[in-house]
Point group: C2
Chain length 412, copies 2
């Protein structure tokens, strides 16, 4: 057994269950404490580069256990992209200085690329280390794994919201009769598609769903919306923020790019609202839940929370067995009831690869999804979890003795 210390870190946008994976890593590692110390790197890879590490073994068991019920990134997160030679030198120095032999990195596509780079760095320098990626992304766009932790809870939030806002709309005959709901999802429509789970009876909201997997056609879109509106006297439309036209250009995108070079989206719903109002003269209301989709712990999927936790536990087990250079995956078993086991794949196979919604799970018209998608997504939003509550609001956990506030100002 390789002795030494470990780092667990979080990367990219948080999810409702990203801390559940940290909880799994921590509780499993701390059962094997003789191996070494488990550090949390604060604000992702930046915490490693800048030596901002916190001993998770020194945290109370209550704080660690509470992470399972805490949204946001309890260790802090960033989207820092390793680029310069200097970064790699600093990383290796940090690993040596703290005798880091285990590296658990929880993140999405870009983060798995970082994780892969860390693994190659160690190999190239003959520095023995176990590097394990733990999948996380509400976008559900990592390949190989059946689905991604974080997706089920965001999907449940979206389905719940569309179900409830649909109830609000359908029996009210004055006011905005067309609602546009903007779902997250940079290049894939997994989140927008999940809104279909709100539809229990034919005719229920959502009536139309648009994913980036199908090029957006303005005329067809307006004709679809108008047809539903004329038939029903109202329409509930879900759009993915990442809709693109035939050329692959975003329907709406600001000029800003994030530090990975991706366009920052937002404002799509308002663009579409303008189109619909100009065409139909009907008032449109937009619902833009934005980061509520990835932070709504109060709407967490019990299955998702459990899987995120188990992935953390298994990451430690596999690392201690000597595995490295892998991302863990969820492998769905055949049949019912729904069950997933845990597998793995090489980091290089997932880094920067995006899994899209299969075209055959989208209707031919490109404005809805099929029963295959529903069968895939339904179990991911299931499972009830009772949250600790105080004063009518969920009660969250936070690391003791760490001022994220001071640190984020220092890292600015």
């Amino acid at each position: 057994m390789l002795k030494g210390n470990a780092i667990v870190a979080q990367s990219g946008g948080p999810t409702a269950v990203i801390n559940s994976s940290v909880c799994g890593v921590a509780q499993q590692w701390l059962k094997n404490e003789q191996i070494g110390t488990l550090y949390g790197a604060l604000f992702g890879i930046r915490g490693v580069l800048e030596g901002r590490l916190v001993d998770l073994g020194a945290q109370s068991q209550e704080v660690i256990a509470g992470l399972r019920y805490t949204p946001g990134a309890a260790l802090g997160s960033s989207r820092y992209k390793l680029k310069t030679e200097e970064d790699y030198i600093k990383l290796l120095e940090a690993f040596k200085k703290y005798n880091i032999r285990y590296f658990f990195y929880i993140g999405g596509n870009d983060s798995m690329d970082t994780c892969d780079k860390v693994n190659r760095l160690a190999e190239k320098n003959n520095y023995e280390m176990r590097v394990i990626g733990i999948p996380k992304t509400v976008d559900n766009d990592l390949p190989v794994t059946d689905h991604c932790p974080g997706y089920g809870s965001a999907a449940r939030y979206i389905a719940t919201s569309v179900l409830e806002a649909g109830m609000d709309l359908k029996n009210l005959i004055t006011g905005n009769r067309i609602v546009l709901f903007e779902a997250m999802g940079r290049n894939t429509g997994w989140l927008a598609a999940a809104s279909v789970l709100a539809r229990r009876e034919p005719g229920d909201a959502p009536h139309l769903i648009y994913l980036p997997e199908v090029p957006f056609n303005k005329d067809r879109f307006l004709a679809d919306v108008e047809a539903v509106y004329r038939k029903n006297d109202y329409a509930f439309v879900v759009v993915s923020e990442g809709l693109v036209d035939e050329k692959g250009d975003y329907i709406f995108a600001g000029k800003e790019r994030d530090s990975f070079g991706h366009a920052q989206l937002g404002g799509l719903a308002d663009t579409l609202r303008g189109m619909i109002e100009a065409e139909t003269g009907v008032k449109v209301r937009t619902i833009i839940p934005a980061t509520l989709q990835r932070s709504a712990m109060h709407c967490v999927s019990g299955n998702d929370n459990e899987e995120a936790y188990r992935l953390g536990v298994e990451a430690v087990n596999m690392a201690l067995q000597g595995q490295s250079g892998i991302m863990l995956t969820l492998v769905r078993e055949e049949g019912t009831p729904y069950r997933c086991s845990i597998g793995s794949t090489e980091l290089a196979k997932v880094a920067n690869v995006e899994k899209k919604v299969p075209r055959e799970w989208i209707t031919r018209e490109g404005n809805d999804v099929t029963a295959d998608f529903i069968n895939y997504a339904r179990p991911l939003i299931e499972g009830e979890l009772s949250l600790p509550m105080k004063g009518g609001l969920p009660l969250f956990s936070s690391l003791e003795g760490v001022s994220f506030q001071e640190l984020r100002v220092a890292l600015r």
Copy 2:
């Protein structure tokens, strides 16, 4: 005891608990069935005008009981304003035709005006009828009553959302560092103010809260946001959709007016986002939950749900005791634990009157609320309610044998 039939109707925007009041009316009335039939008027007063009535006694007990857990307007709702002489003639004819002697109307300010008009119409025509208003509005702007059913649940949804989106923002150091959360509230800031309940420790989100009760000053607003951002490296700002300038003009308002003549709001957050980005160069993310605020049954306040139900029950009791021309009120008792009894006030005293957040509950700077507001609002979001669930989503009730879909097309 006045014998005859009864109508219960819903008016204006739905809330998470408006059907809980219908449930209270129905269950209490059906205990006294010998008095007459209880009709639900579909789509509010329009259902009375057009003879669209459904016998609630013919619905199954399960459907009626399920209304306590159902958002939206289970009877249908509208914002129809009684205007013409013809309307009044039709109303009186409908009352006589169906021998309606009891009228229960669930709504907000404008609806209490309608209720008052119905009462005067009956009195003027010596038509004996008991007319009772049951308060409802997420805006919490009805006078006399301590608070309005619907407010506590919307407040809980807002506080929960700001708590969770605040967790998402605070430990993530890449991306949008300023978040603008747009709360509902046409002319009052009760809903925006409720976001303060998310703040458990100093420094927690929300950092700034703007209500329409204090004239909006662009320079002061930008200076506030910039100061918080410079100090913390991030800022979470809550704004009420109804913000107005010194002259009383909305900061953002479309040209459209609703059927009561009120400006239709929306788009404020985007206007403010533009201001902040231009001034600071910092990227801003907007969260616009819109109707999720008033439909989020999955986040319902147990206290709110219970009070809405009790008001329905008491409306029947008071009407059977011979009272009329009143709106029921919630009367908060002194001390702790929190308790409310039910009182009443004349309809004429509440019709079209708006209760604003007291200036002394808003800080002198006009960008936050005080402990007095917190003490007022906290108990209103408390109380846990276990919802019936199916497939990871809440299970709702709907009237049997009524096609709202066909009816809304017919009423178009």
